[in-house]
């Protein structure tokens, strides 16, 4: 594992973590574009999400009189925690020093940290909507995190490591092999990703109806650069989950070692995989309506069940095989 911790390795890790920031709005723009096309609309340009962020960053920040310092600090904490979590997920190349020092459990922990501050910020100003959003978010989080951990454990049991780089390495070394445990874990992780990133059918990222919101309800009091940081963090989270699904379950194409060719191939491969995932997300969001909020626990229980089945099928079918 020490071989990751080289200077070029750190350089790549550095570049890659900034790539997360840079690419996140693009993925959101892509999903929106595909959705618009599916609804027979032309849709906003692909780069609209960047323009929106730029607009928000340039705008004045208005903060409620009742806000505490936590309200001002939360956007930066949420952004940084999400960004740090993303930095541990291999995007272009497998061998990442960040993955070596922070494993999947840290990733889940960082996302939980971001969630806690998001919920606290939602409640901070004391409006009814923020509190409602925070309570719903915590309900979703409490159900999603165990399912996520279960799915992750299934992967780590195959690789005998909680390090994402090792998991991907193992998967690549095994070659293409249909593992029942991976299929179950994939199912579980996809459901968790949908719930965690606030997409239909759990939450509606484009709604204007305060009473139905989860994630957006906590952001209602934010403006200007604070709102930009929060939105950006949500976009990074979507990219994080997309990359996690794309690179862990279908790692082929990801670069191994530090070379221009590996990096180029890795970038092309991950973009292609994310584009396909984006289309899948857009199709899902087009054909489904949002669930009643009380269906969300059933939805996440299914995720937990799938992850558990993955774990069991690993133990029953794959251990010692």
């Amino acid at each position: 594992m020490d071989h990751y911790l080289t200077l070029p390795g750190w350089g790549i890790a550095f570049v890659q973590s900034f790539l997360y920031i840079a690419l996140a709005p693009l993925l959101v723009g892509w999903v929106r574009k595909v959705k618009a096309r599916l609804q027979n609309r032309r849709g906003a340009p692909l780069l609209q999400a960047y323009r929106d962020l730029y607009k928000l960053l340039a705008k004045e920040v208005r903060v409620a009189h009742t806000a505490s310092p936590l309200f001002r600090a939360a956007p930066y904490i949420v952004f940084t925690a999400t960004w740090m979590a993303a930095a541990t997920v291999p995007l272009l190349v497998v061998d990442l020093p960040t993955a070596a020092i922070a494993d999947i459990i840290v990733l889940v922990g960082l996302l939980a940290l971001a969630r806690v501050f998001l919920a606290l910020a939602g409640m901070d100003v004391g409006t009814a909507f923020g509190g409602m959003g925070a309570s719903r978010e915590m309900m979703i989080g409490a159900l999603a995190e165990p399912a996520m951990l279960m799915a992750v454990f299934t992967l780590t049991m195959t690789a005998h490591s909680t390090n994402l780089s090792s998991v991907i390495d193992q998967h690549l070394a095994d070659g293409f092999m249909l593992r029942p445990s991976y299929l179950f874990a994939l199912g579980g992780l996809v459901l968790v990703a949908i719930a965690e990133t606030g997409r239909i059918p759990v939450d509606n990222p484009t709604t204007h109806l305060e009473l139905t919101m989860i994630h957006e309800a906590m952001l209602l009091e934010y403006s200007g650069r604070h709102l930009a940081m929060m939105e950006w963090a949500a976009q990074i989270k979507l990219l994080l989950y997309g990359t996690l699904i794309a690179n862990v379950f279908l790692p082929w194409g990801i670069g191994r070692g530090v070379s221009a060719a590996a990096l180029g191939l890795g970038l092309a491969a991950v973009l292609a995989k994310l584009a396909v995932l984006g289309v899948a997300l857009a199709v899902g969001e087009t054909v489904l309506a949002k669930m009643r909020i009380f269906r969300a626990p059933a939805f996440l229980n299914l995720a937990l069940l799938l992850s558990l089945l993955g774990l069991l099928s690993h133990v029953i079918l794959e251990v010692g095989a």
Partner: protein
């Protein structure tokens, strides 16, 4: 069976209760019959009416000059006889009217109370849907409804003094207050006590581009225990600024009572004025009015269906409906001069004729809309994910709907298939067969289905209207109104029955204008149907009812 078979029974029951009711000149408020009551019998008469199942279609008061003319003189006035009515000696009075309906027959109860002591028994205990109409009536004319269960003000927020009543003659049309109006911050909402119960204030300013209204939820977890609405934020003083207008001006004002029902409200106002002046619009104008009213119905139903789907995150249907509606409204602009067809109807007819080649264009439009909407409606009707959200959500029982007097898609979805076009037809619907959809489930899905069926029925009606469009004039000049002439307009708008009362003054101007939007009865329905639902389902319930803020705030 005649539309008024129930009337003898009602009169007999009134007599049995020793209530003095005098039948007055029938022609005056045709198609409604008139019955003049003593003020003290006002509440008891409502009790009798509620007992035999009459629907209450609204209450309003007339405090303008010359109001409350004794019935015996009213007939003379209409006949044009210069009756010797000296206002100086006659104490000024406030006339109060209540409109009842059953099986398509209308009956207007009338009474008058002295201006110095305008006290009248409330009818709200027998007709819960009247709650806000009586409070509105009190806020604007000062009639005190004794026995009303809710003493809070409704339309008056803080915009005028507590003891001033804008519709009285001593109140200037321009209003008295200048400058900023204080916030209406201390309206006492009813709260629910208990551990874990919390309050959610929503509005009056909302996130979407909709009108202002305040909703106060009492919730426990996600379940709504109680919802209370507070409206009146778009009170424009429509009834006051109508005073003294000429018929043309009143038609323009009626067009602005509620923008999305502009055709229906204008038609109702024009119908009332035409009935008051005994002047019928030419047949071609009637046909064109109906065509516009049906176009308005289709456009709004399309918008509603899309918005309901959007509120549960199904934006595909929303976008398709928005597209269809946009094309529809562009055609309205092209052929009728305005996207919403505002001011297209005027007293005595319509403002502009339809060109000769428009029929083919419209029929092609109808075919195109059918081709696009029917597959879309199939998707909406049979989409598991949508059904999961819409079926059983926001249930309004038939009894609740009847109790409140809901009409339109809210009533039709809850088993009340009343439609003015069919049950009390006015030209040209007396020559057409109107099919009224009826559903019994009373949930959001039923309200969507009613709208989908109405769109298809409207398309059939419009095809028929175009095919049978008479030739001839599109407008006749309105005859000068006899002093004090009154008229009642009854039109089925896309939200339901619109009832408009008009009274002329002695110079041919308007003395009193009261447009009663169906929203008066569907807003309280929303408060009832949301009970027991979860907070995130409120937007879709609200959209499925789609009450008008502007139409109720006046």
């Amino acid at each position: 069976m005649s539309r008024r078979d129930w009337l003898p029974d009602f009169l007999a029951r009134l007599a049995a209760e020793h209530l003095l009711a005098r039948a007055a000149d029938e022609a005056l408020l045709a198609p409604a019959l008139r019955l003049v009551l003593d003020p003290e019998d006002w509440g008891a008469a409502a009790k009798v009416a509620a007992h035999i199942g009459l629907r209450h279609a609204g209450v309003w008061a007339d405090a303008s000059e010359g109001a409350g003319v004794p019935a015996s003189f009213a007939a003379n006035l209409v006949a044009g006889v210069a009756a010797d009515l000296d206002g100086e000696h006659d104490p000024q009075r406030i006339a109060v009217y209540a409109c009842l309906e059953h099986l398509g027959g209308y009956l207007v109860l009338e009474t008058a109370v002295p201006l110095e002591r305008p006290v009248l028994p409330s009818q709200t205990p027998h007709y819960p849907g009247l709650d806000r109409l009586e409070r509105h009536c009190h806020d604007l004319t000062g009639v005190v409804f004794q026995g009303h269960p809710d003493p809070r003000r409704w339309t008056r927020h803080q915009a005028w003094e507590e003891d001033a009543f804008p519709l009285r003659t001593d109140f200037p049309t321009a209003g008295r207050s200048g400058g900023r109006v204080p916030a209406d911050a201390d309206y006492p909402f009813l709260t629910v006590q208990g551990s874990g119960v919390y309050e959610i204030p929503v509005g009056p300013v909302h996130a979407g581009i909709i009108e202002p209204g305040h909703f106060r939820f009492q919730a426990m977890g996600e379940e709504v225990l109680r919802l209370e609405e507070r409206l009146g934020y778009v009170h424009k003083g429509i009834e006051k600024i109508a005073e003294g207008r000429d018929p043309e001006g009143l038609a323009r004002l009626a067009a602005r009572v509620c923008g999305d029902s502009t055709v229906a409200h204008t038609w109702a106002a024009c119908q009332a004025m035409e009935r008051a002046t005994a002047c019928a619009a030419p047949p071609r104008a009637d046909w064109l009015r109906a065509l516009m009213a049906e176009r308005e119905r289709v456009a709004n139903h399309l918008g509603d269906i899309g918005a309901i789907c959007n509120d549960v995150g199904f934006s595909f249907a929303h976008m398709q409906c928005a597209r269809l509606r946009e094309l529809w409204q562009r055609r309205s602009r092209e052929l009728f001069g305005h996207r919403l067809m505002m001011d297209a109807i005027c007293p005595g007819g319509v403002a502009a004729d339809l060109s000769a080649d428009a029929s083919a264009l419209l029929q092609a439009d109808h075919m195109a809309l059918r081709a696009a909407a029917i597959p879309l409606f199939d998707v909406i009707d049979d989409h598991p994910s949508l059904n999961d959200r819409l079926i059983t959500t926001g249930h309004l029982s038939t009894a609740q709907a009847r109790n409140l007097g809901c009409t339109g898609s809210v009533g039709k979805a809850s088993g009340l298939a009343f439609d003015v076009r069919r049950d009390c037809p006015y030209p040209p619907y007396d020559m057409l067969e109107v099919v009224v959809p009826q559903e019994s489930d009373g949930d959001v899905a039923a309200r969507v289905r009613v709208r989908m069926t109405e769109i298809q029925e409207s398309l059939i009606l419009m095809d028929r209207l175009i095919r049978t469009l008479p030739t001839g004039k599109i407008r006749v000049p309105l005859r000068p109104a006899p002093p004090g002439a009154v008229g009642l307009g009854l039109v089925d708008g896309w939200r339901g029955e619109i009832m408009t009362f008009v009274r002329f003054d002695t110079d041919g101007g308007i003395a009193r204008f009261f447009p009663r939007d169906p929203s008066w009865f569907t807003w309280p329905a929303l408060e009832q149907l949301i009970m027991g639902n979860i907070v995130p389902d409120f937007p879709v319930c609200n959209k499925s009812v789609n009450g008008s803020y502007s139409g109720e705030d006046l």
